[in-house]
Amino acid sequence: MAKICTAKEAVESISEGMSVMIGGFLNVGTPEGLVEALVEKGVSRLTVISNDTGFVGKGIGKLQDHKQLAKVYTSYVGGHPAYSQCMESGEVEVILVPQGTLAEQIRAAGAGLGGFLTPTGVGTVAAQGKREITIYDRTYLLELPLSADVAFIKAYQADTSGNLVYRRCARNFNPIMATAAKIVIAEVEEIVPVGTIDPDQVMTPGIFVDFLVRGDIEHGRDR
């Protein structure tokens, strides 16, 4: 059952070397307040799993700006110039994953699957070090699940049970990440009473959410 708290309280248990999934696609649907709280906390050597690595001074990019990262699983680092340099210098280990594979790996972790077979990446560098399995004459890569210690989720609305609703393409990686981490923290635009969201319209069941943070309150209070 979700506990309503501030971003600062929500990130309290995150310590050096942990893995954090962060929702969002080019900063749409990224929980800015939670990332900022992680920057303020100053915890380092994190592993981040995210669609992309954001921009300089914005969203996930801030974690790179403050040198808090050891490893990143992502499909795109093009928005933040420091990443290529870090990849070359080895300062941050960047594991590039095709976007659909990344999404499916996260889903697989949340769904208790041991892996899945995808045709994506066969014959490319994405196949390196992976097992190939042929089914009915088509070759697939065996991809393994990807989970994390913590997930940072951004939703539009939550009820006090933690049921979440997303808006437009701010949904992206958020619902699957909510299923694949030990601790799930959701930053939302508004928290409404139970009964406001029809059961049919819930996009992430409240059972997945451990902490609920109201983005606007956070911005008002902590900065």
Partner: protein, 227 residues
């Protein structure tokens, strides 16, 4: 021909490949232009891999929705019959063959239909994003690009030298100079651009082209005007 005209010629020709009701994913850059040149009576459904179907027109300045961008990060709108979904579903749609056509640019395409479009060795790495899934999963893969690099070197080669996006998945190559189909036995030159000769296409192409026996159609004259 001016750069802009070349791009328009390619976009217009690609648009003619799209059928009414098709689900289409257009890559960043030149492919995005294709939506502006659809023939009369052809309406397509645009898929955006960041999680929606039914991309509408670019929103007016000041009317952007903070939760709506296209896969290139630009403000976007969604049509009334559109729908939103998470990234796992978005790529299930792509990989499951529910996108009829994807249109992308290329750094290199070779005669086996191999495509390299995500990484130039020695240059800054940006990542493959959703390109590998799109090229592998879409029913039809159309490469839309200028025929040669800025230095005049061919982009259609015998064998890709850059890291691949996907193996043997390209179906059709449309450039400012030619329309080329990729078959298992090689590249078939189907059409040439207005004011282009077959000899020019051959000299600007590193891969072997299989030529038609009779008259070769010319494209670039007809096609619908920009709407």
């Amino acid at each position: 021909m001016a750069e802009i005209d070349k791009r328009v010629r390619v976009a217009r020709r690609v648009a003619q490949e799209l059928k009414n009701g098709e689900v289409v994913n257009l890559g960043i850059g030149l492919p995005t232009l294709v939506a502006n040149y659809l023939p009369q009576g052809v309406s397509i459904i645009l898929h955006s891999e960041n999680g929606f179907l039914g991309i509408g027109s670019e929103p007016e300045s000041g009317k952007e929705d903070k939760d709506l961008i296209n896969a290139g990060g630009k403000p976007a709108s969604i049509l009334a019959n559109g729908c939103c979904f998470d990234s796992a579903t978005s790529f299930a749609i792509i990989r499951g063959g529910h996108v009829d056509t994807t249109v992308l640019g290329a750094l290199e395409v070779d005669q086996k239909g191999n495509l390299a479009n995500w990484m130039v060795p020695g240059k800054k790495v940006t990542g493959m994003g959703g390109a590998m899934d799109l090229v592998t999963g879409a029913k039809k893969v159309i490469i839309a690009m200028e025929h040669v690099n800025k230095d005049g070197s061919p982009k259609i080669v015998k064998e890709c030298t850059m890291p691949l996006t996907a193996k043997e998945e390209v179906d059709l190559i449309i450039t400012d100079m030619a329309v080329i189909a990729v078959h298992s036995d090689g590249l078939y030159l189907l059409e040439i651009g207005e004011d282009i000769t077959v000899e020019q296409v051959i000299s600007c192409t590193d891969a072997k082209l299989i030529l038609p026996t009779g008259h070769i159609p010319i494209f670039g004259e007809e096609g619908s005007k920009e709407r």
